[in-house]
Amino acid sequence: MTGNGNQYAGNPFSAVAVAITTDAVAHHPMIETSAVRKAEQELRQYLASTPLAGAGNVIAVSGDHGTGKTHLGVRLVQIAHAESPSASAMYLDVASDQFTGLYRRFIANLGREGIRARVNDFYADVVADSLSTGTTVDIAALVRNREIEPDDVVGGYQMMESALLRQVTQDLKDELSSITDNQAYATALALLLRPGFDDVVWDWFNGSAPHAALVERGVTHRIDDEVAALDALGVFALLHGRKGRPFVLVVDEIDKILTGRDITTPVNKALQRLLQVFQAAGSFLVLSGLPEFRRELEPDVAQRISTVIPMPPLLAGQVSVFVDLAQRRESDLPYIEFPDSAVERMVKLANGNPRKIISLCHALYRTAVEQRRSAVDTLMVEEAMHDRAGYVTTDEVTAAIRDLLVRENISYSTDQYVGNRDSFVDFWIEAGPDSGFAVLVAESVFTGDVDDLVIRARAVRSARETVEVVLVVANVLDADAAQQLTAHVLDKPVRYDPRSFTEDFQPLLRSLRQRYTGSPLDAIREWLVRIDLANATTRQMMEKLDRDLSRLSEETSNELMTLRERTNVVNIVTNTYPGDDPAGQPFPDSVAEVFHDALAGLDRLGYPDTLFDRVLGRAEDASEHYRRVTQMLNRLATKGVYEAAGTVSMLRRWITSFSNAAASWYATESHAARRPGQARSRLDALCRTYERVAETMPLGQIAPLVQLVAEGEADPIPKQISTQLVQRQVTEFAEQYRTLGGKVREMVLAELSAP
C-alpha cells in the first residue's frame, strides 16, 4: 500500500460511472474492448486518409445501457480534435424523440459564427476565382488559403460584391442540389454574408417562421418538421465536409428517435439522404444507441451503415487491466488488490456491464479501505452487489404484485403452505380443481441459494396435479443460479424491475382469465417466452416519457434558469460565506444544478402544496369535488404521512447542508484540488460523509406522503394513484438522493479538469 495508509481519502473509481460529455472524460481510463479498438481503428483510418468525395463513412455502435457507448462516442470526438490540424468533430446526445430536436442541438453546437465561417469558405473560393487570372493570381492564392478574408479584399479593392455574392448563392445551390431541391438553404446561407441579415437567417435556421425579407427572397418554409430538419442537417454536414476537410459527428442515444414510434416514409427517405450526404461529403458519422435502433431502420437506410460495432460485455481480464490502470492513475491513494476470483465474480454478477462493474469497484474499494483490507474477495463482491441493487425489499415486490392482482380482479391468497412444510408460496392463485399458479418472491438469489429454492419449487409443484411456479427476485439474480433454476420454475426467474414490473406482469395475469376457455398455464408459458420483448417495449415506453421530459426541459430552459436563480442553492453558491475568501471560486452551474435537481425532485414528491391550496380554495364548496378531496384526506392523512413529512424535511436539510459545505469547499479549496492531494481528499471525505448519512435515511417511509401529493395533484380532481407508481417514484428519488455524493464529486472534478 502507498499514500494515506488505510484512511479513506478518495476513490479511483467513479461512483455513478456515467460518462460525462465534456473534455474532462479524456482523463478517465477507457476499458479497451474489441469494440473500442474497432471504433478507434475505423476513425483513425478515416482521419489518416485524405477524405475525398464519396469516401465518407457511417458506422453504428449498439449496446445496452451502461455498456460504454457514450464514453466511446466522446472518446472518438477527442481523437478527432487531437489530430493536427484539429479535425472538426461534434458529439450530440439525443434529448428528444424527433429529428427536429437533434437538428436544433446540432445547429446550436455549430453556432452562428461556425456556420458563417463555412459560408465564408464559399465566398473565399468565389473571390479567389475572380482574381485567378492576370495580375491578381497571388492575391487569389492568399484569399483561397484564407490568409486574408474575402470581404476585406472585396472592400479593399472595390470589387463587384453583388455579382460575387450572387455567384456564392449559385454555387451553394449547385452544391446542395444533391441533398435538396429546396433552394432556400442556399439563399439563406448566402444572405449571411450580407450585412444585417444575420439575425433573421439565424432565427430561420433555428426553426422560426421566415422573416418577410426572407420570404421575398424565396425562403418560405420553416425548418420545423423532421424531413426539413434532416435536410438541414445534411446541408450543414455537406458544408463542413467540403474540400476534403474531415468532419466527425457522433449522435448518441439515436434509439430515442428511432424506436417507440412509427417513422413515416418521407422521414426514412430523408434519413437515407442524410447518410448518403455523409458518405458523399467524406464525413464520418457515428450512430450510437440501444441495439433495437438498428431493427427500426429501413433496409435502404441500414445498408448505408458500413460497420456495426456491438458493445460486448466486459471480460474478467479486461476488468482486471482497467482496475489496475485506474488505481495507478491515482497513485497517492491506497492500492487495493482485486484478485481474479473477485473480478470474475463481479463480472458474472454484473453481466459484464461496464457501468455496474465500475460502480461496484467504487463500493468495493471504499469498503476495503475503510475495513483496512488490502484486497477484496468474492464475498465482498456479493455483499456489495446486494447492497447496490437498489435496496428493493420483498415487501415492495409483494405490494407490487398485490396491486396488480387487485387491478386485474384476480382472486388470490398469500403467505401460505400449499402442501408440505417446504411449500410456502407468497401468492397462490387457483386455476382449477387440480391446478394453480404460485408466485415465490426472493430477496436475492446466488448459487448458494439454489438448492433451497429447488426444494421449495418442487414442494409447491407436487401440491397439485398442475402447478406453475414463477420466481420473482427483488435484487440480485446470479446468472448461474438463474440457469440452474430454469428447469424448476416457469421459463426462468424474473428479476424485479420497478420501472417495468407492471407492464411485465399484467399480460401474464390477464392470461389467467382464459383459464376456463383454454389452458391458462399454456397462456402463461407463452407469455413468459415473450417477456424479453415486453421488457424492451416497456423500456421504450419509459424512455418515451423521459424524452418528453427532456424536450420540455429544453423548451423551458430559460424558465428553469429563472427558477434556479431563485433557489437557495444558487443563492448559496454564488454568494460568499462568512470567513471565506471573497475572491473564492464561484460554484459551477453544472454542480449547482445537480443540487437543484435533487431539491426540486424532493419538493415535487414531498410537498402537497397544490392539494392544500385546492382544498382551501374550495372550503365552502359542498360539491362532489370537495367530498372526494375530503375522503382522500381522511384515507391518506395518517400517521405515516406525518412521519414521512418529518423525513422529507430532514432530507431537505441534509441536501442543503451538503450543498453549503460543497460550495464552501469549492470557494476555498477547488484551486488546490486540481491535482490529487489534501484538498481533493477533503472533497472525498465530504461526499462520503453525505453518502453515509444518506444511506441511513429511511427513504421508504416517504411513500405515504408521495402518494398524498401525487393524488392531490391529479387534475382536474384528485384520483387514486397506484402503489406501484408511487413506489417507482420513491425508488427513483432514492437512487438520485443516494448517488448525489458521487455525482457531485465527479462533476466537481470534471469542472476542475476542464481546460
Binding site: S130, L131, T133, G134, T135, T136, I139, L142, R146, E147, I148, E149, D152, V153, G156, Y157, Q158, M159, M160, E161, S162, A163, P195, G196, F197, D198, D199, V200, H211, A212, A213, V215, E216, R217
Partner: protein, 325 residues
C-alpha cells in the same frame, strides 16, 4: 500642415478629399459635370437615358420609373446623379421644375435607428414615402396638414399617397413641380415593379437596381404600365476604358495641380485587372497616389509612379488585411 496634405491626389474628387469614396454628383455640385469621363462604360447608357426621356412633358400625365442597373462598383450612382441632373434641366425646358429628393439612405438601419437591420419591401416603401412627405412639407411643397393626413397612409398604402401628391402640391401652388426621387438601391425585382405600377402623375422614381443587364430587361415584362421603365445599365471597364479614364482624369487635374504621372507599365497592369469596375479602378488609383504622397521625396509632375510602387502599395494593403484577420 503635413507634406501629404499639400500633395494632391488627382483621383479624389476636388473638395471631397476627406471622403475619397464619394461619387460624382452634379445635381448637388454642378462643377462635377466636367469630371465625368466619356468611357464606354456609361457614355452610351447616358445617351440611352436621354433618348428614353425625350418627352419629359409627359410627366404631367403620369409617373415614371427610371432604373440604372449594374453590379456594385460599376458606377450606377454616378450615372444616376448625372441622369437626374440632366432630367432636372430638361424639365425646366418644358415648363416643369424638377426637384431632386435623395431618399437613398432612408432605409439604412443605422440611419433610422431601427431595431432590425433588415426590412421587407412594404416597410422599405413605406419609409421612403414617409420621408418624402416630411421633406415635401419642410420644403413647402405641400401643406403641413396634408403631410400629417398622409403620413398615416404612407406605411400601409404608399400608392394612395403618390396618387394624391400632384394635387397636394397644386394646392400649395406647386403644380409645376416634378419630384425626382432617388430611391434606395435594391436587388428586388418586385420592389421595382411596384414602383412601376404607382398611380398619380409628376413623379420620377429613380432607383439603382443591383442586378445584371439581363435581369433588368425583365422588369415590367407583362405589366401594363402607362410608360415603360427607363432602364439603362453599366458594367465593367474594358482596358481601353481604363486607359481613357486615367488619361482624362489626369489631364483634368493637371491644369491646376502638380502630381506624378503613372508609368505606362503600371497603366497596362491596371488595365489587366480582371472584371475592373470604375470604383475598383478609382480605389487602386487613389490608393497608389496616397502611397506616393506619403513616400515620395519628390511629388511633382516630373516624377513617375511605377509598377514597383503599386506592388509596395498592394503589399502594404495585404499586410493590413492579414493583420486584421
Amino acid at each position: 500642415m503635413t507634406t501629404a496634405q499639400r500633395r494632391v491626389n488627382p483621383f479624389v474628387i476636388p473638395g471631397r478629399e476627406d471622403a475619397p469614396r464619394s461619387v460624382l454628383c452634379p445635381w448637388r455640385e454642378p462643377n462635377h459635370t466636367e469630371l465625368y469621363v466619356e468611357i464606354d462604360n456609361y457614355a452610351p447608357a447616358f445617351r440611352e437615358f436621354k433618348d428614353q426621356f425625350a418627352s419629359p412633358q409627359l410627366l404631367k400625365e403620369a409617373c415614371r420609373l427610371a432604373l440604372v442597373g449594374g453590379e456594385s462598383g460599376c458606377g450606377k450612382s454616378a450615372l444616376r446623379n448625372m441622369c437626374a441632373h440632366w432630367l432636372q434641366e430638361e424639365l425646366g425646358k418644358v415648363g416643369l421644375r424638377g426637384e431632386i429628393f435623395d431618399l437613398a439612405k432612408e432605409t439604412d438601419a443605422l440611419n433610422q435607428g431601427l431595431d432590425s437591420a433588415v426590412i421587407d419591401i412594404k416597410a422599405r416603401m413605406g419609409r421612403v414615402c414617409s420621408s418624402l412627405l416630411k421633406k415635401l412639407a419642410t420644403g413647402d411643397f405641400i401643406d403641413g396638414s396634408v403631410r400629417d393626413d398622409l403620413l398615416g397612409t404612407a406605411a400601409d398604402a404608399p400608392h394612395e399617397v403618390y396618387a394624391e401628391l400632384a394635387a397636394a402640391m397644386a394646392d400649395k401652388d406647386q403644380e409645376d413641380v416634378v419630384p425626382i426621387l432617388l430611391l434606395p438601391a435594391t436587388d428586388m425585382r418586385l420592389e421595382m415593379e411596384r414602383y412601376l405600377q404607382m398611380p398619380g402623375s409628376r413623379i420620377v422614381f429613380f432607383a439603382e437596381a443591383v442586378m445584371s443587364t439581363n435581369e433588368l430587361s425583365h422588369i415590367g415584362a407583362g405589366q401594363n404600365a402607362d410608360m415603360p421603365p427607363a432602364t439603362v445599365s453599366v458594367g465593367t471597364l474594358s482596358p481601353a476604358d481604363v486607359q481613357l479614364f486615367i488619361t482624362t482624369r489626369t489631364e483634368q487635374r493637371r491644369k491646376d495641380c502638380a502630381f506624378p504621372s503613372l508609368h505606362e507599365e503600371l497603366v497596362e497592369y491596371l488595365a489587366a485587372w480582371p472584371n475592373t469596375t470604375v470604383a475598383g479602378l478609382q480605389s487602386h488609383l487613389t490608393g497608389v497616389y496616397d502611397h506616393a504622397r506619403r513616400t515620395f521625396t519628390n511629388y511633382t509632375n516630373d516624377t513617375t509612379i511605377t509598377k514597383g510602387d503599386m506592388t509596395d502599395y498592394t503589399m502594404n494593403l495585404i499586410d493590413n488585411l492579414r493583420a486584421r484577420r
